[in-house]
Symmetry: C2
Subunit: 241 residues, 2 copies
DNA sequence: TAGAAACGCGAGCGATCGCTCGTGTTTGCC
DNA sequence: GGCAAACACGAGCGATCGCTCGCGTTTCTA
């Protein structure tokens, strides 16, 4: 019978493929996509987003994604070399979209803005984006994302860290760099926690958690900024609109 | 997806305690363990803790756990009906140990203790426990834990939430219950984030993050407690260097 | 209109994983 | 010593999953 197990296999194509000839120069595959193909890709990415959001990355099966998109597994692999590539492409598109739409969220360190204004602006933008694209949280903060995705996450993490550090150092020019880094790490972590709670609720409750998150960040940073930008003791009447 | 097993094995007496006699000893188990067996169980749980910590729950294979313990897969299943039971038992033992050792961490709401003292005591205890048992974080906050484990997590979450709410309401008797719940949720989330950062570092850096976490909690709660327990405006000597 | 290429299908391959089973060894008790 | 139960082993079953392959269909191009 064909029930011959324990076939150790001579290492065969277990090399996980990855990308053919990815090392060094990127060998582009001149695949001419038709309009129908582009439509399928968008359709598949949308389906993947849904499946990833509900089940997470590693628990999501490619067959499930294909089924969600209403196509066969073979069709899926017509457009993506493997499962990881789907997440990469999806994450990449979201990253690009985020940069285009909210790229300047943390950039301007206008010295005339108060701490509350800065926090409110940054939090509102990022929260809005993540509420609109819940997959983003799954792909970025998910624990089971593949190696290539983790790189993308680390890159985003480093970028945000750098921006927060820059913003903080402009408020605290004489701070210890190590302390600054810790504070920035803490801010990112606090934001992540708040985002998790925000995504877990809806409507008025969600907005309440957004306010709470802002309070956390402002109260955490206010004593550091101190009287430099002043008036951060009690955020007073609802800072959000 | 999972637990699709329809072939109920012969010894499917897997009532496995829990249900009713939760705190009593486990009856229903006609299996007389010898001293050797108890040793094996401890050995297997230790191996499982190591594997879970490094690879997470769902990515950990039972064969890997058995290998780590130096036994065969068959031996592992001599003591545990399935993979989930290993995590359950491990989590249960850790929970019990935590309750025994640090059970009173959040319990006393001594009106003479200040906010800083309460936060410091609670954080120090829980951080210490989690640093000593890193698996606990993986099992509790891991995203891929099985259903039964999630229940245990939810139970712990609810317990901690209740204690925090009680503690807060003793400081804010006239607070809105919904607001109180949100604040407690936020505190737990902040703690979780801080714990994540603490576990990711070592030595002096780790201690610095512990301090930072305390600052976050104290500064977040101080304005709420206000002048009730007083002197929470600026948490003592310069928080930063 | 003919040929090529992109698109589409779905059965199924190869590998892994949770778990079992038949068999042999050790331990506790009489 | 004798016997039953607990312990130990490891090949392998059954199921799933990522992915492939052969072949049929649609679309583009000349």
């Amino acid at each position: 019978m064909s029930a011959n197990r324990e076939k150790d296999g001579p290492q065969s194509q277990e090399g996980q493929a990855g990308q053919d000839g990815q090392d060094g120069q990127e060998k582009e595959q001149p695949r001419r996509r038709q309009a129908r193909g582009e439509r399928r890709i968008a359709q598949l990415l949308e389906a993947a987003a849904a499946v990833f959001t509900t089940t997470g990355y590693s628990a999501a099966s490619t067959n499930a994604i294909a089924r969600e998109a209403g196509v066969s597994p073979g069709t899926l692999y017509q457009f993506f070399p493997n499962k990881e590539a789907i997440a990469i492409e999806l994450g990449g598109r979201l990253m690009r979209q985020m940069r285009e739409t909210y790229g300047e969220a943390l950039a301007p360190v206008d010295p005339t803005t108060s701490l509350e204004e800065a926090v409110t602006a940054a939090v509102d933008r990022f929260i809005a984006f993540n509420c609109e694209h819940p997959v983003f949280f799954t792909l970025m903060h998910g624990p089971d994302v593949p190696g290539r995705m983790a790189e993308e996450h680390d890159a985003l993490h480093a970028t945000l860290l750098g921006r927060i550090e820059a913003l903080l150092s402009s408020l605290l020019p004489d701070a210890d760099p190590a302390e600054l880094n810790r504070t920035a790490q803490m801010c990112l972590g606090l934001y992540k926690t708040g985002l998790e709670l925000v995504l877990a609720h809806e409507g008025a409750e969600r907005e309440a958690y957004v306010r709470e998150l802002k309070h956390v960040l402002i109260r955490y940073l206010a004593p550091l900024v101190g009287d430099r930008l002043g008036r951060a003791g009690t955020p007073g009447p609802a800072p959000t609109a």
